[in-house]
Amino acid sequence: MMKRIFIRLMIAFAGMAMSFAPAYALVEININRGNVEPLPIAVTDFMSGNELGAQISQVIAADLQRSGLFAPVNKAAFIEKISNPDQQPRFEDWKVINAQALVTGRVTRESDGRLRAEFRLWDTFAGQQMTGQQFFTQPENWRRVAHIIADAIYERVTGEKGYFDTRVVFVSESGPKTARQRQLAIMDQDGFNVRQLTNGKDIVLTPRFSPSRQEVTYMSFEGDQPRVYLLQLETGQREVVGNFPGMTFSPRFSPDGQKVIMSLQQEGNSNIYTMDLRSRTTTRLTSTAAIDTSPSYSPDGSRIVFESDRGGRQQLYVMGADGSGQTRISFGDGSYSTPVWSPRGDLIAFTKQSGGKFSIGVMKPDGSGERILTTGFHNEGPTWAPNGRVLMFFRQNAGAGGPQLYSIDLTGYNEQLVKTPSYGSDPAWSPLLE
């Protein structure tokens, strides 16, 4: 517990230190505008005695590029060869190739074996350093350091928190459709470092990250009893959530991490319940003869969005955290499902089924401002990056084969395949790591 508080303080310190950067820097991206022209940025190979420097730069450049907000300049165009990353670069050499921002850095080994990674972000047109930081870590964590550096660059340039030092838990699928094997898996947000968390014997679905602990809630068919479970990522320990008289499914944590909200199926009905993880008290929030499922809290915990077919087709409803005031918010043509409240609170992402197509879209919590970001044969199950700017979802194309993970930003212009070793579905983005 002390450790966690200390970590928080450290991050706060770092944030303050960065704010000393000059306010008159030219390089900035306003990501509140519609379609942003990506910022040309030169990410030079970090100085190092081996290939690690180039590898770290590659991860940073790939993160920035996939965000859609940066356009890394081709290395072949570089004129100046950085020989000392502590020295001011020759800004003219970078301006002439239109690199408006420049990243230099160095990786070295400490005497205790740890890796030391330093970087500097330069504004080439203003001719000054925008930020500079250094990190220490075990050598095997080099990718994570690269993601943290990419986050620092993203934050310094856009003014918003990054999302690169995050992970995604998902369902890794393999085998033919009629005998599909499903395992929980976890990976870095860029698709690297995939690890399986379950052995594939039982169907596992809809994993969701805890906002506060190294913990995942998900549904498993273990023992042919479909139920919601908790899985501790650090110990592998599992437990069933609650002792309900029927199938429990579609779990999600409350924003404080203290409750799991889920559906309970009894005969033909499913209603929404919460279970307090400390007191083990369960509370019923909906009570209809309909299918009420896919609950998701607003980030302040005061409201819940969910889907229900109480009006005929599946539609989105918002209610108070105590189940009060259940109000339909989706009124477009088609049916709406899998709503997820943005971590910023401003939008709700959903799956929309209309005209034989499945789309991913967003609307405001009052149901206004609906916007479809991507549409096709089958898109499903959005999850938000912790900064509320990017969504990940899964897509199944027509034909044989299986689902794959994609990310898309809120403009809808920047859609990217997230490569995984096998098929993937049900992605859930972690909070920013600490």
């Binding site: 450790k3 075990q138 650090e234």
Partner: protein, 180 residues
């Protein structure tokens, strides 16, 4: 190689703008070793009614049930009503189960893939429940009937049109289902 879920990272500090100044370093290790365990599982795959056994079927055997009675019924899109053709199948099932009262059954509810995962789990449960109610109304004791939903996770027919989707929207009666 250690399996770490929260890799140890020392948090950042700002480097001095003047590169000559060596920055004070504040290092902090975030612990987080994790040993993933493979936990025990029950295999418990229910199968889909053993359609393979179309040959000689002993009366009262599961082949007899699957081949001569019919172990599955189909539903319309998003619907849980028992169609007329399905009623005939379930009537035969109820008669057969009355003749062989030692069998407990599991009714598996399934949905086609043209819906979202969570909704389809509930829809499959509704179909299994509607099937159970029908069988119970035809005299099969409710305590012999267990239900389970597999949502859209276990299709039997794979293609991208209605010919397959209509086969996947089904309830399958499995003799001596798991847990009985």
């Amino acid at each position: 190689m250690s399996r770490t879920y929260t890799p140890a990272i020392s948090r950042m500090q700002t480097l001095a703008r003047n590169p000559a100044v060596i920055a004070l370093t504040l290092a902090l290790a975030l612990a987080g070793c994790a040993n993933k365990k493979n936990l025990p599982n029950n295999a418990g795959d229910l199968g889909l009614g053993g359609a393979a056994g179309a040959g000689a079927s002993t009366p009262g055997s599961s082949q007899d049930f699957t081949v001569n009675v019919g172990d599955r019924i189909f539903f319309d899109t998003d619907s849980t009503s028992i169609r007329a053709d399905a009623q005939q199948t379930l009537d035969r099932q109820a008669q057969w189960l009355a003749r062989y009262p030692n069998y407990a059954i599991t009714v598996e509810g399934h949905a086609d893939e043209r819906g979202t995962r969570e909704y389809n789990l509930a829809l499959g449960a509704r179909r299994a429940s509607a099937t159970k109610e029908y069988l119970a109304a035809r005299g099969v004791p409710a305590n012999r009937i267990r239900t389970i939903s597999y949502g859209k996770e276990k299709p039997v027919a794979v293609c991208d049109d209605i010919s397959c989707w209509s086969q996947n929207r089904r309830a399958v009666t499995v003799l001596g289902g798991a847990g009985m």
